[in-house]
Symmetry: C2
Subunit: 328 residues, 2 copies
C-alpha cells in the first residue's frame, strides 16, 4: 500500500489494477494500522453516482461455479460492462492464498482487460467477512467495475455474508440428487433469488429438466427474499453457453426492478444497518467468549449437566462483559 | 403461589393441578421476587428419573392445531399416558390470557383427569421465551406428565424457541396451496421433523394426497435436523381420527431412537448450552439497544445513509456496553 493516500485514490479511480489489488489487501488485513489506513482510503473515495450490480454466487464444490462465472463474465464484458469477481475462498486460509488458482480457473476472464479476478480468505466472524466483502465491493465500484460477482463455496457462514451484500443471489445446483447429497446447508435455498441447474447438457439434459421442475416445486414452498419477486429456476450449460444469456437477462431484469422501484436503495440501507447489528452481536459475543472473570468451560459443563440454569449462567457472562473484565 | 416452598414442591409432585398452575404463573412472571422464588422452586424439585416426550407443534392460524392436539392427547391418555399441553399464545398478551379460550378449544382433553392444558403469553425475547417454556416443561415433568405438547401459532420467534426445547417438532399445513399462501415463515420447514397435512378427509382427500407428495419432494431438498433421521410427511384427519395413530407411532418411534442412541441426552445438553448463548446474546443486544452513551437513532440514520461505516458504529455501541453505561 502506498503511503500516499491521494495517489492510491487516484490510482483506483483511474482503474489501475495494482492500486485496486493493494487496497483490497488493506481491507483484508487485521493489523490496526492497515485498518486505519483503510478507513481513511474508503472515506477519501468519491461517492459513487453509479452503483454496480452486486451478484452473489454460491454452490457446493464441483458444481461448476468458476465455469459459470467465466461464461457470465465473458458475456458481460462483450456487452461492454466491466466485471470484477471477488471469490471468498475458505481454502486460501489453508494454502496461503489461491489467487493463482482462480486465475487458472477463469483463464479468459482473468486475462481480459475489462475484468478483475481476486480471491480473499473467508476467515473471521460473519460480521468481519461482511465488512471486508462490502469494502472490497466499494473499491471495485470506485474503480469503475459495473458488475461485481461475489463467489463463495459456502462453508461456514460465508453464504450468509455474501447474500447480505448481494442485490441478486444465485445458488448453483447439479442436475439430479437431493440437495442433502449436494451438501447444501439449511436456509441457503431460502436466500436464493435464482436457482441455477448447471451442466444442463448432453447426458444430463433430461435429468436437468426434471431437476428444474423439482426445484420450482420446492421453491414454491418458500417465501421469496423480495416480496413480489418470486425466486426463479434456470437451467444453464456453461460449457455450451446455453442459458447464460437467459440467466443474465433475468439478473438484469430483477436488478432493474429493484432499482426503479426504489427497493434497491432501501435494501442497501437495511443491509448497512443489519451489518451494524451483526457486528455488534459478533463483538459482544466475542467479548463474552473472551471473558476471564469466570471459567466458561466449567460454566458450560454445569449448564450441559443441568446443575446450573442456562439463564443464571448467561446473567453471569453478561455481567462479566459489562464490567469490561474481558481480555478481548 | 404459596409462601411455603416445601408445600409447593409436594403439591406439584403429588400431581396437584393448582400447585402446578401456580408454579407456571411464577415462571411467567417478570417480577424479580417471583423469579427468585421460581429459581428456588426449580432447584428444590427432585431430579427426574424419567424424562418426558417433548413434542413441539406449530402451524398457521386455522390449520387445525387445537383439533389435532385434542385428538393426539385423547389418544395418548387412552394409552395410559399423562399429557400436558403448553400453548404459547401471542393473543394472550393482547387479551389478558386465553386460558378459557384453550379450555374451550380442547374441551375433552382439558376436562380429562390425566391431562393439563395451559396457555402462556409469548412476550419477551427469544431467550426469555425459551427459558419460560423449558421451566414450564420441567414443572410438568415433575408433576408426572409423560407427554408434553408445546403448541405455538408461530408469530415472531416463538417457533424457534419451541423447536429448541422440543425432542420432536411437528409442522401442520393445510392441503393445497403453496406455503407462501399459508404464511409459513422462512426456515420453519427446516426445523420440522414431521410435516402433517391436516384435514385429509372428505372433499380435500385428493388434494391432501397431492400435498403429501409435494411436501415429500420439497423436504428431500432440506437437511434433516437429526442426521440419519429424515423428515417425514403424514396425512391426518383430526376429525375422523384417521392417521392420528400413525402419527403417534412415528413420534414414539423417533423418540425411542433418539433415546436409545444416546442422542436425546446429547441433544438436551446442547439445547441447554444453546439456550445459554441465546440468553447471553439477547441480554447483550438488549444492553446495546438500551445504551444511553450515544444516540442510536442518529447512529442508525448515519449508517443507513452511508456516512458512518457499520463497523465504526458497532465499535461505538460495543464500547458503550462494555463501559456499562447502558440504562438496562
Amino acid at each position: 500500500m502506498p503511503e500516499d493516500l491521494d495517489g492510491a485514490v487516484a490510482g483506483i479511480i483511474a482503474g489501475d489494477r495494482r492500486a485496486l489489488a493493494e487496497a483490497i489487501t488493506l481491507v483484508e488485513s487485521t493489523l490496526p494500522e492497515h485498518q486505519e489506513q483503510c478507513a481513511k482510503l474508503l472515506t477519501a473515495l468519491p461517492v459513487q453516482e453509479h452503483i454496480g450490480t452486486r451478484i452473489g454466487v454460491t454452490g457446493a464444490p464441483g458444481v461448476g461455479k468458476s465455469t459459470l462465472i467465466e461464461a457470465m463474465g465473458m458475456h458481460m464484458v462483450r456487452d461492454g460492462r466491466r466485471v470484477a469477481v471477488l471469490a471468498i475462498d475458505p481454502s486460501s486460509e489453508l494454502h496461503g492464498g489461491s489467487i493463482l488458482g482462480d486465475k487458472t480457473r477463469m483463464t479468459d476472464l482473468a486475462r481480459h482487460p475489462d475484468a478483475f479476478v481476486r480471491s480473499s480468505p473467508s476467515s473471521g466472524t460473519l460480521g468481519g467477512l461482511a465488512r471486508r466483502t462490502r469494502e472490497a465491493i466499494k473499491l471495485c465500484e470506485a474503480a469503475g467495475y459495473s458488475d461485481i460477482i461475489i463467489e463463495t463455496v459456502g462453508v461456514g457462514q460465508s453464504e450468509t455474508a455474501v447474500a447480505g451484500v448481494s442485490d441478486v443471489f444465485l445458488l448453483l445446483v447439479s442436475p439430479g440428487g437431493g440437495d442433502e447429497l449436494q451438501g447444501i446447508k439449511r436456509g441457503i435455498m431460502e436466500l436464493a433469488d435464482i436457482v441455477i441447474v448447471t451442466k444442463s447438457d448432453g447426458d444430463l439434459a433430461l435429468r436437468a429438466t426434471q431437476s428444474v421442475g423439482e426445484y420450482r416445486s420446492a421453491l414454491s414452498f418458500l417465501i421469496p427474499r423480495y416480496s413480489g419477486m418470486p425466486s426463479q429456476v434456470v437451467p444453464v450449460s456453461a460449457h455450451s453457453g446455453d442459458g447464460v444469456d437467459v440467466l443474465i437477462g433475468i439478473v438484469r431484469d430483477r436488478w432493474a426492478r429493484l432499482h426503479s422501484s426504489g427497493l434497491l436503495t432501501q435494501v442497501r440501507a437495511t443491509q448497512l444497518v443489519d451489518e451494524m447489528w451483526v457486528a455488534v452481536q459478533d463483538g459482544l459475543i466475542e467479548a463474552a467468549r473472551a471473558t476471564d472473570a469466570l471459567s466458561l468451560d466449567v460454566l458450560t459443563h454445569d449448564v450441559a449437566r443441568g446443575t446450573t440454569s442456562p439463564h443464571a449462567a448467561a446473567a453471569m457472562i453478561i455481567q462479566a462483559v459489562k464490567r469490561n473484565t474481558s481480555s478481548a
